[in-house]
Amino acid sequence: MTSDTATGARVLVVDDAATVRLYHTTLLGGAGFAVNEAANGLEAVEAALGTDFDLFVVDVNMPKMNGYACVEALRSDTVGSDAPVVMISTEDRPGDADRAYQAGANLYLVKPVAGDRLVRVATMLTAGKDDVA
């Protein structure tokens, strides 16, 4: 496991839009997180199989494997990650957030997420992550 401060915590940013990915990685990278990227759910699952991430920031609408399916896969026995998942979507429709929680997400935010908020949430969710079994 990585250190228990925000700095050094490992985040996987999953989004098919390269611009959004760059935005999120720049923000989080700038705040001291070690950031990896994936362009769709499949890539994310592959990445999570090889690395223990401390946080996932996942877009909802993606090709190949969408965000919900991706989070479900992350929570499945195959990957078995219990790290916090923040889902970020452009949609703000009733039911979408519940769908995210059902898949196993821990927070549902609507795009665009203000930069300081993303960093704040990421910092909160990764701080002292080793305390709980």
Binding site: L22, P63, R75, V85, D92, P94, G95, N106
Partner: protein, 781 residues
């Protein structure tokens, strides 16, 4: 430009191409769900990414397009050509905006009004309703969607009341946050005096410091107050009144929605609550709001129907709740807490974090339709597949090519050095060693050059990509049925060649659509299929690429062409009789010729086939046309695969040097003054039994110069259009490899030059366009 915007523009380019192509395919195959999904996804990604920038019109327009496509995707709408037109027009508008963004980093000023009509049209098939998630989207641009956090200094009751009133009346209020500089009293500023002059003051909140200094330490000349002013005064009035303290104020205009959102998001900070909240730094307030969101999500995740509360899911909820608790300053030990314990902890923590309206707001159950749609998204097929290709800015490659050019130039400098080593310093050995060095450098430079040129190679499909759209639009306008076929799109050529091909190809395709291809009625009269066929083909041929535009239209009538050319005085009566059919067809490339009896608004805009030939020849290529009356026409462009490096022969006239493409040069001769002949006012020279006309280059270029009567005549023999012509010059120089750059500025319209190149000694060389020079000479004579 900031890297994020640069990334967005690059991504947008790909998305636009994807949308265009998808829509056109979709029109042909409206039922294809994968295609719909692909186009929808592109529009969706566009909208999402555009939201990161201050481009509200772009977001709104892509949102409208996305909603329409979503309806098509969900089967609620059938895509018709009118909708396709509107969608294409929307993305065309966006393309224009992005070009503006590329140079100005903002949308053009008229973007809002340009988009408004399209948005209405896009929304019309959906019943014209606005998107539910963008209720304030149609508001004026000055409106701020999110209330600033200082709005918390107004009490919630008043805000609720005000929001109700604003909502009923559809109006807005201006909110001003005024934080006077602490030393403002010394500058004779009196904030309160400023505020009392404000007309239509609705609400004033004076915000005091969270901690007052001790009475003994209180400095009466330090301003510690901030002011929150709510007013119905216009922005103009506000700006005028506060014009001397602009750096101390912040003004936002809010509507009912923004205030309501503010009210439901963060806890209002009422006067009575001041004492408790005052000790908490601002960042913590926001942190608390985030913590509440996390707790709310956890609560929902534990209580929703059919949710899994074991394994990784419950563990992640434990993590999240513990994290939220820690950030609220009340760490909890959740151990192996189960759902029930977690819920208790959440309730406790929620109390700690002050009641958040978000947490208690009932979440409406998902309507079944939304659920179905979500389901159908789960097994999303397709989308674009990421490739392991490095995207390089075109400018960087151009820069690389320039450097290669400069390297070539520097390399060529060594030959000068070798010559002067021998001539000036009399050292043959040194000259040879320099030449050896040159040879080694030359080899490396050549390899580097071909490597860079390889990077510059693009598939012809890039040049072809605009035609599906063009053919579709034009054929609809002309009422013709046309099937476009492209072949050999993967043939590679230098990007400059591809770019330069664009205009000639457009012209040829338009010409074919306009004049070549018949209307469906005419076609069936002639026993042809209703749908005409237009083919774009590319094939590589050695170091050239051949691009052919062919149609199965009515073809060119050689007799009609000949008569027309004769009427226009382009050919003589004798030629009218004797010209072969093939040569007759070639007449269409003559300047001043147009095959159509009426000039159409499509292809007849002052440029003819002569312009096509001229521009292709300027690239060092050739155009030929073959046609069979009644069966079709085929126009063939032959272009060099690469036009980056050209070998030129350097000659000088009147003290100035010019370059002539080496592949035109036949030989160089020096003819004694007496060896020149004259036939019909034309200087000629006899070479191996052939009479070769000789042109005085200086005269053709209108440069004052003449050789001494008795001097030998240096003559450069070139072959242009299969004809040999001698050029009288002052002196021959060497052959050099140069990077030809297109003419710029004042010389851009000087057709006698095909470009400029930098020489090893730093001089700029003008490279001659021989055809034009010969034309000039003919006119001067």
């Amino acid at each position: 430009m900031n890297p994020l915007l640069a990334q967005f523009l690059a991504e947008a380019n790909d998305l636009l191409a994807q949308v265009d192509e998808g829509l056109l395919q979709l029109e042909r195959d409206p039922g294809d769900p994968e295609l719909v999904n692909e186009v929808f996804r592109a529009a969706h990604t566009f909208k999402g990414s555009s939201g990161l920038f201050d481009f509200p019109e772009l977001t709104r327009l892509t949102h409208a397009a996305e909603d329409l496509l979503d309806a098509v995707r969900g089967g609620r709408l059938a895509l018709d050509s009118g909708m396709t037109d509107d969608l294409l027009a929307s993305f065309d508008l966006i393309r224009g905006w992005l070009a503006h963004v590329t140079t100005h980093e903002r949308l053009p000023s008229g973007a809002g009004s340009d988009a408004a009509g399209l948005i209405t049209r896009l929304r019309a098939p959906l019943g014209g309703e606005a998107a539910p998630s963008a209720p304030s989207a149609a508001g004026p641009a000055v409106l701020v969607d999110t209330a600033p956090d200082w709005l918390a200094y107004l009490d919630a009751e008043w805000l609720t009341e005000t929001a109700g009133w604003l909502s009923t009346t559809g109006s807005t209020l201006r909110f001003l946050w005024y934080t006077p500089d602490t030393d403002c009293f010394f500058r004779a500023e009196d904030p309160l005096h400023l505020i009392r002059q404000l007309p239509a003051l609705d609400r004033l909140s004076v915000v005091q410091p969270g901690t007052w200094p001790a009475v003994q330490e209180y400095d009466e000349y330090t301003c510690m107050l901030s002011f929150l002013v709510v007013t119905r005064a216009s922005l103009g009035e506000l700006n005028h009144l506060f014009r001397y303290v602009t750096d101390q104020i912040e003004i936002v205009e809010l509507d009912a929605d923004a205030i309501t959102r503010h009210l439901s998001g963060e806890p209002p900070l009422r006067a009575e609550e001041v004492m408790t909240v005052a000790v908490t730094p601002v960042i913590d307030t926001e942190m608390a709001a985030d913590a509440r969101s996390v707790l709310h999500a956890a609560h929902r995740a534990l209580t929703m129907d059919g949710v899994v509360t074991e394994g990784t899911r419950i563990r992640s909820v434990r993590h999240a709740v513990a994290a939220a608790a820690r950030s609220l300053g009340v760490p909890v030990d959740l151990g192996a807490a189960g759902p029930a314990e977690l819920l208790t902890a959440i309730d406790l923590l929620a109390g700690e974090a002050a009641p958040a309206p978000v947490a208690i707001a009932p979440v409406p159950a998902a309507p079944p339709r939304a659920e179905e749609r979500v389901e159908s998204r789960a097994d999303d097929p397709g989308g674009q597949v990421g490739t392991r290709v490095l995207k390089v800015d075109q400018e960087k490659v151009d820069r690389l090519m320039e450097l290669v050019g400069e390297l070539n130039v520097a390399k060529n400098g060594l030959t000068f050095l070798a010559a002067s080593a021998e001539e000036e310093f009399g050292s043959r050995a040194l000259s040879r060693r320099i030449k050896d060095q040159y040879a080694g450098l030359h080899r490396i430079a050549e390899e580097l050059q071909s490597a860079v040129m390889d990077v510059r190679m693009l598939p012809l499909s890039v040049a072809f990509s605009r035609f599906p759209r063009l053919v579709r639009d034009l054929s609809r306008r002309l009422g013709k049925n046309i099937e476009l076929v492209t072949e050999g799109g993967d043939t590679m050529a230098d990007k400059d060649v591809i770019e330069a091909l664009g205009d000639p190809l457009v012209h040829l395709v338009r010409n074919s659509l306009d004049h070549g291809i018949e209307t469906p009625d005419e076609r069936s009269l002639r026993g042809k299929s209703h749908t005409a066929r237009l083919t774009l083909t590319a094939v590589a041929d050695g170091d050239a690429v051949i691009v052919e535009v062919s149609d199965d239209g009515r073809g060119v009538d050689p007799d009609r062409v000949k008569h027309k050319a004769y009427e226009k005085g382009l050919i003589s009566e004798e030629e009218l009789e004797t010209l072969s059919d093939v040569d007759a067809v070639d007449l269409v490339f003559r300047p001043g010729f147009s095959t159509a009896d009426q000039v159409s608004d499509l292809s007849g805009r002052g440029v003819g086939m002569d312009a096509v030939r001229a521009s292709v020849e300027k690239l060092g290529g050739a155009v030929t046309m073959r046609s069979k009356l009644g069966q079709g026409t085929s126009t063939r462009l032959r272009l060099p695969l690469s036009m980056a490096v050209t070998q030129v022969m350097v000659v000088s006239v009147a003290g100035q040097r010019f370059g002539i493409p080496v592949d035109l040069v036949v030989e160089t001769v020096k003819v004694p003054a007496g060896g020149m002949g004259r036939v019909l006012h034309q200087d000629v020279v006899m070479m191996r039994g052939e009479v070769v006309p000789v042109i005085d280059l200086a005269r053709a270029l209108d440069m004052p110069w003449s050789l001494p009567e008795t001097a030998d005549r240096p003559i450069l023999v070139v072959s242009v259009n299969g004809q040999r012509v001698g050029l009288l010059v002052e002196q021959f120089h060497r052959e050099v490899d140069v990077i030809l750059k297109p003419m710029e500025g004042l010389l851009a319209y000087a057709d006698e030059f095909s470009g400029t190149a930098l020489l090893g000694d730093g001089l700029v060389l003008l490279v001659l366009n021989m055809k034009e020079v010969l034309g000039l000479a003919a006119r001067v004579a």
